[in-house]
Symmetry: C2
């Protein structure tokens, strides 16, 4: 291999990708078996539900859930079709949509959480001491700076 980055970096990279994908698949599978929609739905709903007003511009949600713009757009189509969110023209900016969570949306998010939390506990929490989980979060946090 021509280049020689720290072996430990490559090892960490492989572990990171593989572990995340495995765990995410397991958690998603648990959620699906419980009859719930994909976790992306939860991600969007929880962002809106947290807001005191229950609404956010689509672009803000997009930046928080790490989805491509066209992808969030179509995800919102689906959420809207299911009556979980509404789209309102923004009074501040004629280009922007406000995404508004509906009562059904809040209800679904609330119902998903116990299963989600249980799956996280099963697939992650039960394998780590709290201090280890905190250390993991700290190390992961060091990786997300700027564009680097």
């Amino acid at each position: 291999m021509p280049m020689k980055p720290n072996d430990s970096s490559v090892d960490a990279w492989v572990c990171l990708v593989r572990t995340e994908q495995r765990l995410l698949a397991r958690v998603e599978e648990d959620m699906k078996r419980a009859g719930f929609p994909p976790l992306e739905w939860y991600d969007v709903l929880v962002e809106l539900d947290r807001e005191p007003t229950g609404m956010l511009p689509q672009a803000v949600v997009q930046s928080r859930v790490l989805l491509a713009q066209y992808n969030l757009c179509r995800l919102c189509d689906r959420l809207q079709r299911e009556g979980l969110v509404l789209r309102q023209p923004s009074p501040d900016d004629g280009r922007s949509n406000l995404l508004v969570i509906t009562e059904n949306g809040r209800k679904l998010r609330r119902e998903m959480w116990p299963s989600y939390a249980a799956a996280i506990e099963t697939h992650l929490g039960s394998h780590l001491q709290p201090a280890e989980a905190a250390e993991l979060a700290r190390l992961l946090g060091k990786l997300v700076g700027g564009t680097g």
Copy 2:
């Protein structure tokens, strides 16, 4: 089952998923800018290239790269179409395909690695001390046991 909102497990979970997705997107983007195909291609090619014989049953590759069976099947279709692998009927098992890497496949893998290694270093290695990367890998390794 109700859950404490600030549980360190949940925090670690969110960091894990978000960080992996961010970093993977950045690395894939670098690779694409360098004119290379998706990383899955690399994953399959490297498994075969590592084998002394340059071949493995499709099912073995599948279990290593964490893809659904129908997904790996179609990925192999693409690799075969590009002349990077061949499919041979297995002499041991009439149901099984042997995936064989071609000279072009080995060449592509070899050419991808420097860019891949550089991207890993940029997006992960440069943010962590070697000891931190090792610790990260260790913690992640604790998460993948059995079915739990």
